[in-house]
């Protein structure tokens, strides 16, 4: 009898804890779904990017690129990234079809050889162009790629925020988790802490200078990624945002990849 009672108690405690966890998870997911909902309908967007790579001693190196993104309702977005500087990689272009559940499709164009190469999309954690950004930091966000846990409410830079934990659900991620501060009025990320595979704090990303476009879509002009383990940082500057310029599937195919500028 006592044994049964004990079992029942244990079961009760666990089921309560489970539903509490479920509530935390569902609150996290609710927040992210709202973030995603508010950013839905942008259609297409293009922009120019400058990356300033800084090492520990302050030496700088510059990258220039441009990026086009096509929103695909019901699937992951398509994106085309075109490199302009350093000069020796000018004309190199990267085409990516993201998928929420299956592996992304990626092609790289090498202008010297005029060669389009299908490449492995398992490279999630590797550095992008020698910067502190990993490929997974720059690919388009899809809800099913993470599971979510609501942590707390907290203000960041005098703005009320939700702090939500993202746990990557895709293979080959370099992170055990990401802690994301989400502005609770505008539903946009303002800061991210990345934890490496040993669960040590690896990097912090800070979004700077948010601007609203088409009275709906918030985009940051600056993004500063600092690596706490190496002391290196990369400042990303996003310029010349252009929304809804009528881009279509043809702007994101392998024929276009070969002549992208």
């Amino acid at each position: 009898m006592i044994k049964q009672l004990l079992l029942l108690t244990v079961f009760w405690v666990f089921s309560n804890a489970a539903s509490a966890i479920e509530a935390i998870n569902s609150r996290g997911l609710e927040i992210i779904t709202e973030v995603d909902r508010r950013d839905t309908g942008f259609g297409d967007v293009q922009m120019d990017m400058v990356m300033i790579l800084r090492n520990k001693s302050g030496d700088e190196s510059l990258r220039r690129l441009s990026m086009k993104t096509l929103e695909i309702v019901g699937d992951g977005d398509k994106s085309l990234t075109i490199f302009d500087r350093p000069r020796d990689i000018k004309g190199t272009a990267f085409l990516s079809f993201t998928h929420p559940l299956t592996a992304d499709e990626q092609w790289l164009y090498l202008p010297a050889l005029k060669r389009v190469k299908r490449i492995s999309s398992s490279n999630k954690s590797g550095p992008f162009l020698g910067s502190e950004y990993a490929f997974e930091d720059l690919t388009s966000f899809e809800i099913p790629k993470f599971s979510y846990r609501f942590l707390r409410e907290e203000s960041y830079q005098e703005r009320p925020c939700f702090v939500v934990e993202f746990i990557p659900q895709y293979r080959y991620s370099g992170y055990t988790r990401e802690q994301v501060w989400i502005d609770s009025e505008r539903y946009i990320p303002v800061k991210v802490d990345y934890y490496d595979r040993k669960d040590a704090l690896l990097k912090t990303l800070i979004y700077q200078g948010y601007q609203q476009y088409l009275k709906q879509f918030w985009r940051a002009e600056g993004m500063l990624m600092t690596n706490h383990q190496t002391g290196k940082s990369t400042q990303l500057i996003n310029k010349n945002y252009q929304f809804q310029q009528g881009l279509g599937g043809r702007d994101f195919d392998r024929n276009t990849l070969k002549r992208a500028r």
Binding site: P86, R87, D88, K90, R118, D196, G249, D253, R254
Partner: protein, 403 residues
């Protein structure tokens, strides 16, 4: 042949001069690179005219202009290399001079272009549109510009069908008497034989269909025209010695390319069937590449490659690889200087001829780049096509400035 090349160059330059002023020169985007190269050989040459060290310089510029929101574009890429000793390696070429116009369901590309086909790394069997620039680098990755009219018919939800009318045959350029990395006896650079003359020699036709379906990328291609790679016939020259004369035949070639991409694996296959050069033959290259990304969280990628090359003509094939295995690795540091290392070894399964190659490159600052290439050939069998190169182990260093 040099006269032909000169006439060709003059005609092309004349066209350039007509086309360029159409749009204001100010609106042209200019980029390119210029470099100096040291090419050294430490083994004694097979022939006394050959040298041990060649200094050379190169410049390639790209002039680009677009209008109609980028739906129309013109590109002009002249190339020039000067080389010490070897007058054949000192060469000028128009790598590109073309107009591209783009619509929703098609693209039209007219002029001198470079078109690459293929998926494998050790050799490019299917790639046939452009003539290889055989004096630029022994890796055969450099190509001469090919005049063409190319229409791409594009199915937005499916594949692309490319149709090519190739208008003008580019004869291969071989190293001169004083050059290394050449056949011995040398190839006659004054004269070549063609199965067809006139317009039939010059016109080529090709088509290729490409499509991606999930993890699969495939292509089917056909080519009809003068073979880009000649057969070599040994003949007496005027001095009582011997020389090789290039014979260019009309060929038909069908090609298949296939790549399967899954996780860290790339599986690759290329294969051709060719008729017109003696008996019809079959050749194929197949293999794989496996890459570890972000090794030890240090940012570097490390990949291993294995490929097998086959040619049904066996020992008689006028090619380097007919029953050979290639193994190699690729190290990409993904650092600020984009440091890369590619090392490979090819072994002839039956004759045991081995070739080794190491290629390394690194950016210096923002605009400079240095590249180092080491190529070795050992245990070369006398029956091997590469026997003429048995003393041509080489170290190549290039420093280039990109603008």
């Amino acid at each position: 042949m040099r006269n032909n090349a000169m006439m060709y160059t003059q005609r092309v330059l004349f066209l350039v001069l007509i086309v360029l002023p159409i749009k204001s020169l100010l609106a042209w985007e200019v980029s390119g690179y210029s470099g100096i190269e040291s090419l050294g050989f430490w083994e004694p040459p097979l022939e006394s005219q050959q040298q041990s060290h060649y200094l050379s310089g190169v410049i390639e510029a790209e002039f680009y202009h677009e209008w109609n929101d980028g739906r129309d574009s013109l590109v002009f890429v002249p190339f020039f290399r000067w080389s010490e000793h070897d007058d054949q390696r000192t060469h000028f070429d128009i790598r590109e001079l073309n107009w591209v116009t783009v619509a929703d369901l098609w693209e039209l590309r007219v002029g001198i272009r470079k078109e690459f086909w293929g998926v494998t790394e050790s050799q490019h069997l299917v790639d046939i549109i452009n003539q290889t620039d055989r004096v630029e680098n022994s890796d055969t990755e450099d190509k001469l510009g090919q005049p063409m009219i190319n229409v791409a018919l594009i199915n937005p939800d499916g594949g692309t069908l490319d149709l090519f009318l190739l208008t003008g045959f580019r004869e291969a350029v071989f190293p001169g008497l004083q050059g290394r990395l050449r056949l011995s006896p040398r190839v006659n650079t004054e004269q070549a034989f063609y199965e067809k003359q006139g317009i039939e020699k010059h016109l080529g036709y090709a088509m290729r269909y490409t499509q991606s379906v999930q993890q699969w990328d495939f292509a089917l291609s056909f080519f009809h025209g003068t073979s880009r790679s000649p057969r070599f016939l040994r003949e007496k020259d005027n001095n009582g010695g011997y020389q090789f004369t290039a014979h260019y035949e009309q060929i038909n070639q069908a090609g298949v390319e296939l790549q399967f991409t899954e996780g860290n694996w790339l599986w690759k296959l290329e294969s051709i069937v060719r008729e017109g050069q003696g008996r019809s033959y079959f050749a194929g290259t197949g293999g794989l590449e496996y890459t570890w990304f972000n090794v030890f969280s240090g940012g570097a990628d490390f990949g291993v490659l294995v490929e097998y090359m086959y040619d049904s003509r066996g020992f008689n094939a006028p090619v380097f690889y007919q029953d050979d295995f290639m193994t190699g690795f690729r190290l990409t540091l993904n650092d600020i200087q984009s440091s890369e290392l590619l090392a490979g070894m090819i072994i002839d399964r039956r004759r045991r001829t081995q070739s080794y190659s190491i290629e390394a490159s690194r950016r210096l600052g923002d605009s400079w780049k240095m590249a180092l290439e080491l190529r070795l050939l050992t245990q070369v069998a006398e029956s091997d096509f590469s026997y003429s190169l048995r003393n041509d182990d080489q170290l190549r260093f290039e420093l280039s400035y990109h603008f």
